[in-house]
Point group: C2
Chain length 498, copies 2
Amino acid sequence: MASDWDRLLERLRVLRDLGSASSLLTWDQAVMMPPGGAIGRAQTLATLEAIAHERLTDPAIGELIDALADADLDQWQRAHVRVLAHDYERAVRVPADLVRAIAEARGLAYPVWTRARPANDWRMFEPPLNKLINLKKQEADAIGYDGERYDALLDMFEPETTTAEIESIFYQLVTELRPISEAILEAAGQRPAWLTGDYDERAQQQFCAWLVERLGFTMAEGRLDTSPHPFTQMIAYGDVRQTTRTHPKTILPAIFAAIHETGHALYDLGYPKDHFGLPAGGAPSLGIHESQSRMWENQVGRRASFCAWMLPNLKERFGHALGSLTPEQFHRGVNHPERSLIRVDADEVTYNLHIALRFELELELFRDKLEVSELPEAWNDGMERHLGIRPESDVNGVLQDVHWSIGALGYFPTYTLGTLYAAAFFDVAQRDLDGLDADFRKGDCSRLLDWLREKVHSNAYLYPARELGRMITGAPQSVNPFLNYVKSKYGEIYEITF
Amino acid sequence: MASDWDRLLERLRVLRDLGSASSLLTWDQAVMMPPGGAIGRAQTLATLEAIAHERLTDPAIGELIDALADADLDQWQRAHVRVLAHDYERAVRVPADLVRAIAEARGLAYPVWTRARPANDWRMFEPPLNKLINLKKQEADAIGYDGERYDALLDMFEPETTTAEIESIFYQLVTELRPISEAILEAAGQRPAWLTGDYDERAQQQFCAWLVERLGFTMAEGRLDTSPHPFTQMIAYGDVRQTTRTHPKTILPAIFAAIHETGHALYDLGYPKDHFGLPAGGAPSLGIHESQSRMWENQVGRRASFCAWMLPNLKERFGHALGSLTPEQFHRGVNHPERSLIRVDADEVTYNLHIALRFELELELFRDKLEVSELPEAWNDGMERHLGIRPESDVNGVLQDVHWSIGALGYFPTYTLGTLYAAAFFDVAQRDLDGLDADFRKGDCSRLLDWLREKVHSNAYLYPARELGRMITGAPQSVNPFLNYVKSKYGEIYEITF
């Protein structure tokens, strides 16, 4: 006779497969789907989400969770039940109609965004966004919260983290980071000329495909495509797909998007096989997930030793533009900070100021202090406040990010949490692994990857994010490792004393 | 209050969306998926199929079908209920466990086939195929039949058609076709040299992409990719994807696969929008579906007038190989018949002999007169009997087709039915539309497409296949239009009197 665990596992596998199907539908929507498929895709995704919600909230799941409370389970089984209980309790509070309405609104807002952005047409995007945000408010209210409404949204991406904690982190970070970034921006001066040039897009794609395999990604278990907004999607165990985007006039964005997404992809590929798709089988939070992408992109990819290895390989394909560059010039260009309008192309110094803006706007929306119609103006004001520049158009302002169009509200702060985790984790990796720079100078990242697999990837969601962070670093979360990293690295490049 | 019809429609839309998700998972599996995703994909497809089966066989569906028997419905609603009742009655007879087992076995056999074929390793493919065929026997027995087991399989692809009817058709066809094809093969002589050459694969893909849009296909509502086995998959209304395959040493297979698949795709794109994914919203049978692909491929694509238009366009890209070819030489090469081993590359004269072989083998398997282990030998013997040649390896024999690996048993005969329908329908189109050849000589297929939309596409499954065929042709199904077409066309090309 099947045990309670076996009966639960059978249900969890159905949820896993429904999630896998939705993942593919989502990936395809962004990468492969012809425009004509948009409406059908929104319906299909909404139906799968409704079925998954129905299955997750089946009272039998609640009974099995209760029955397993005192059962003799191993640590993985306990973790699965713990995470499932959390998801179940939240899911049962959301009416099925609302789940479906949100899925449909999301499925319709996304294609509108893909058209509104190139057309620089905020008015096209405003109605579906407004609808979606109203539905997300209803969802947050249905789920409930101890502190404030935004807590319920945050919890979807960074469980067990409160708005108050995030506000405190941003307050410390922005206060300290603004003068530091001003000093760095002033010292950095003019943008190096080679950052703009003629870079064949096909050659960029080929270089990225070669590079990500050097980092440990494999096309046997994934794909690298291009899409307007780079992202990584795990479809199933052994099928993790990333994208980058190329532009014919610049080369670094494609490369660093690929390195960033490889960080995500290597994490997904490092989960323990037997637990894929089960509640504790993936990352404990998006902040932890982002720690991997940011570490590969910044602590590794933008590091002098790694850049010194990458440059001659780049010259093989782009000799016409990069032939005379020294490793020092390349490293300086890779780390050239500027007051830029586009978050995904921002340098690591100013990046978190972009995030602070988005967090503030989301907070105001969900505190009912800001209307969706006021977003473009509020965005532009915020850019002036944080970065001292004002977008001349909504393409470079409020329309730039995909997140809101897919209902990912409460998501942005996890980028900054990832930045903080990345800096803190890399400090430990450097202590644990002697001579990492010598590895990187040979393009060898295998020791770092093994370390991450052991410390981060293989744990999946055995522990909540904060606990995992503390296990790795031995300290509570703090803005200091990141601030020290920025001061030390940029102080050296631009000869600034902080 | 929702009417019975509204309540049924809500359930039908869920089935539509589950079907759409499975379609995408299947397309992706063949075109995009990395090898590492194979096991997860099989599980996901099996889960979706199990959920769809569970929803379809919900007793509430049976009750709604009964309740709607005497309701005041329009002709589309009546058609949906009629087709649903047929599907429902069959589905309730198949146990859920068997549905899942077949889906899993299929999901596992397919990736094995993709490896076994290039490796020419029948022994690798035999165990999963054997398992799948045993499960399909169980399924057929569970569904039941009046005549014989194979009837239950046929009905999945060609509803309301019996094995006895198909046997009679093949008997007439093969008896008459063999001497005709022998005469044509003898007259045709040597293969023209230009059929083999150096044809850049990327240029082939570009030509195919250009060509299919000239035929009426649009990338706004579909895709054209490459895959080992060309196919068309409708994902949703406005999202119909086709594939072709290229080979660097030959050009015609890619082009005629693309024209063939465009025939399928134009049909799918021509269904009435409001009925997409509902029971009567698509083709009444695969035979009717194949009538569209074969007509575009053969009656149009291999026609002298169309070839005369295509040749100069081909010369623009492949001038090095085709520059000196006359339209007559090109048309003759396009219609060069030979004793070939590979069905998908076969000419239209011998094609149906390939199908006859597969039908015979399937019949023997399901009549328990042949073991799966005996298939390679039986295949090779059959090729000698039908075509006078014997495959030297299983790659060119029993391993060549994808169908069995995906559990499509009972499918092959629909290719021949499609051949017969295509010839009969095109006779009517020629009578209805004056000066079609003048259109084709300008690359203009729009009048034919409009005719097909009206006569075939827009009817979807309002009428059973045979009834639709009779409505269009005014006559019962017959092998004569096809035989007359072959005798007339090849008699002219090769100056043979039949």
